[in-house]
Every structure is written in structure tokens, then in C-alpha cells.
Amino acid sequence: MAYYDIDAILLDDQIVPAHFNTAAMDLGVLDPSTPSPHIDQGTETDIPLWLALSLAKRSIVTLRSPSFFGESFQAHLLADAQVLNIHDKCPFFYELGVKLAKLTGNWALPAVLKKAFHTRYLRIVDTSINLGAADYSEHIRKLTTAERNLFHLGHAAAAEVLRYKTRDTDRLAASAVVTRKRRRAALGKK
């Protein structure tokens, strides 16, 4: 994963519930529910993953499982993962799950995630290849970021195959960059 990978940065920005083992001076901003400028020992609050990982290493906080990695949601995942809107729970559902599982040693969670992903992946294979030029926004609404990217890869590949079949690829066309530039220049003149 590249350092400047925007998805990796966004993953680190996901919030996870944490339990403060120690009191924290001047960190009241982290807990919107407290009027005090400090955080008391035993406070439960949501903090971003990058901070949580760092604080957990120093035993300042203990990570709690987000609700969507809880037993009931795992049961939902195993029952029928295809219909669940995982993107609403967390756009980086799988990545976050694996990261937290690594930290807490919960090896059962990635196995459940893998099973859930497999069910959803079958759907992605079908839709991305076969949708063609149809509107796919409804199909990708429930997918996580990784799944959406997967969908787009399959969709683009299918479109390319179709383009080749009609030998559309022979025709030279201006790059999107050039057309954008021209349009911008035309707008500037006005």
C-alpha cells in the first residue's frame, strides 16, 4: 500500500469506539459529549483509527469492537451478505475488520468477513460483467469502497471487450484530458 494511497488514509480516518484506561489532559475535544476539557478515566468515546492504534499500543485506550463487528451483525453477514448495506456501516469494512482483528487477535472475524465477501463477490462478478451500459448506481450503493472499485474494474473490462468486438478500438479519439482542456479554454474565453 502506497504511503499516499488515499484509500489507506481514509481507512485510518474511520472511527472506532475506545475505552480510556487513563485520564487524558486536554483531550476533551475527542469526546463531544463531555463539557470538560479533559477526558476522565473510563470514558467510552469514538476516536479515529490512526489515533486509536497509536494509543492502544501505549495502553492508554482499549479498543472496543464497533457494533458492525458484533455477534448479531456477524450472524447477518453469514445469513445473507448480499442484501446488507455494508457501505453505510463502514466504507472500509473489510480493511477495518482485518486491522482490528490483527490487533486483538480475533481470528474468527476475518474468516466471517471472507465468507461474507465471497457471497457479495459472486454478485459483483455477475453485475459488473453483464450490466453493460445500464445504470449501475443502485447496484453499487451497498458495496464498500473496495467492492466498488472491483465492480468498476470488471465493468471497464467488459466494456473494453465490447468495444473491441465492434473494432471500435481502431478509431483514434482525443484523450479525455485534451477535450477537458479545450472545454475549459472555451469557457475561459466567454
Binding site: A101, W107, L109, P110, K114, N149, T169
Partner: protein, 294 residues
């Protein structure tokens, strides 16, 4: 900690269909020249001499060029004959798991020849149709192969895939494999570290088997023997034997992630003889236990 997030392929990361077609232009094609010319020497090779009516083998790019200039006729390859194509199609339909051996660039070669030299190909429309059918049948098989990807198997076998077919699934396939690898990585590292531990301090077989029976099958190595050998951690903290020993000592350790299945209470494990690298063996450290162990 590397963790690939599926990315959209940029222009540089995957070939377009026209690039694959460009690669296919090095394939051999037989032309019958309509002109006389001594051999042409180029860096890539010597082509010719050209004599009217005498067939000779040249690269496809040259054949296309000669055909476009009406200086040669192209002899279609044997496999592009309607009858052999129909036979291939039958065979292709017969076996859902096996791909017929066709030239690596058959899609592109057929497409180009049908585009440039359709008047040289007998029954060109039937050829076009049959090739389309073959591509379609193979596509269905490829899709079936893609569905077989479940993360437990490290690979799927798709022999005799053609260049264009590989290219059409490459980015999607790799991204999927990466995502599965990300999801299976903790499981594998847990297994790896538990084997290391097993070799370091030989555990009593009685305890190992009792734990193996409580472990849900995690895929891949699902036999009881394999589980005994690659025993995944089952304790709620489980970041290392040192961690679980510590959690056994201090029972107030909050169990963080509730697992999907109810687990039997893990027995306190004896401290292994060497604990130097045990805590970091799983690649992660349970912070609270370290803090307590200090």
C-alpha cells in the same frame, strides 16, 4: 503492515484491447504476393523474396499492410477453417472445465483477418459467427472460474486461456485475489506462528486434540490432523502465548471482540520455555496484556 485496498487500474496498469492486438501482430501469417520483389531486410528479420503466386510466411503486421495495399492475398490459418472451428466449438461445449488449445492470440488474429481480408477467407460470415460462439462459450467458463475464487484456494487453473481473455479479467482477477489475501492474511499468520510455537515447545497431544475439536474449520486445511498441526489461537485475547498466559493470570482482562461462535473457556496454558518473541509472533501485540505483564 501491508494491506492492499482494491484500486481502480490506471491506464498504465492494464493493457487495452488494442495493445493486446498490437502484440498479436507478430504472429505468423501466410500471404500469396501479387508482386515481385527481392527480400526486404529489416531489423526484426528478413522478409521475402516475394514472387507472384508463391506463398510465404510473414508477420501479421506485414501481411495486413500488403493486403491493404492490394499487393497480396492472405491465406487464413488452418484453425480458421469453418469446419475445424465448428469442431473446436463442439469440443469447447463438451467439457465445462477444459479450454481447447487455440492460438494464444486467436481472438485478435481472427478479428484482424476478418477485418482486413474477409474476401480471402472462404465463408467469412460463418467463420465470424463460429468464432463469436467460441469466445462466448469460453467466456462462460471463465466466469465459472471466477466464481470459484473463494479465498481458500490460492489459485484457480485456467489452462489454454488466450491473450485477450486473460487481459479482460486480469485487473479484476488480481484485485479480487488481493482482497482475499488481505482477508486471509491474519488467519495464515496465526497458523504460521502457532506452528512455530508447536515446534518450539511440543504441546501435549491430549490438549491439542481437545482444542482442535473446538476449533471451527477455517478453510484450506480443514482436516482434523491439519488443525492439530496448524492450531489457530482460540483464546479471546490470543495475541501470543505470553498474552494468553497473562490473561489467564488476571481474569479481569476484558474480552474485547466477541467471537461469532461461543467458545469453550480456554484452559490456562503453561508458560512456554522461551517467551522472548512469543508476544510479537502474531505480528501484533495486545497492548493491555503487555502493560500488565510489566
Amino acid at each position: 503492515m501491508t494491506q492492499p485496498i482494491v484500486k481502480q487500474a490506471s491506464v498504465l496498469e492494464s493493457f487495452g484491447a488494442s495493445e493486446v492486438e498490437f502484440l498479436s501482430e507478430d504472429a505468423e501469417a501466410v500471404v500469396v504476393p501479387l508482386f515481385r520483389e527481392p527480400a526486404i531486410r529489416l531489423l526484426a528479420g528478413t522478409y521475402g523474396p516475394f514472387r507472384p503466386g508463391v506463398p510465404l510466411t510473414v508477420p501479421l503486421w506485414l501481411a495486413k499492410q500488403l493486403k491493404k495495399q492490394k499487393k497480396a492475398k492472405i491465406q487464413p490459418p488452418e484453425w480458421m477453417d469453418v469446419d475445424s472451428l465448428r469442431a473446436t466449438y463442439e469440443a469447447e461445449q463438451a467439457d465445462p472445465l477444459y479450454f481447447e488449445a487455440l492460438p494464444y492470440h486467436y481472438v485478435e488474429i481472427a478479428s484482424q483477418l476478418l477485418d482486413v481480408a474477409s474476401d480471402d477467407i472462404p465463408d467469412a460470415n460463418s467463420v465470424r459467427e463460429t468464432i463469436e460462439d467460441i469466445v462466448e462459450v469460453r467466456h462462460l467458463k471463465i466466469m465459472a472460474g471466477m466464481r470459484a475464487l473463494d479465498g481458500d484456494s490460492p489459485a484457480i487453473k485456467l489452462n489454454n486461456l488466450a491473450a485477450m481473455e486473460i487481459n479482460s479479467i486480469r485487473s479484476f482477477f488480481i484485485a479480487t485475489m488481493d482482497h482475499y489475501a488481505m482477508l486471509t492474511e491474519p488467519e495464515l499468520s496465526a497458523r504460521r506462528s502457532s506452528t512455530r510455537e508447536a515446534t518450539r515447545s511440543s504441546t501435549t497431544p491430549a490438549r491439542a486434540s481437545s482444542e482442535a475439536s473446538s476449533v471451527p474449520p477455517t478453510g484450506g486445511l480443514s482436516t482434523a490432523r491439519a488443525q492439530r498441526k496448524f492450531r489457530p489461537r482460540t483464546s479471546s485475547t490470543g495475541a501470543g502465548s505470553r498474552a494468553s498466559a497473562a490473561s489467564a493470570r488476571s481474569s479481569e482482562t476484558p474480552s474485547r471482540f466477541p467471537s461469532a461462535r461461543p467458545r469453550p473457556r480456554s484452559r490456562p496454558r503453561p508458560r512456554p520455555r522461551s517467551t522472548s518473541s512469543a508476544a510479537t509472533s502474531a505480528g501484533s501485540v495486545d497492548p493491555s496484556t503487555i502493560w500488565r505483564a510489566r
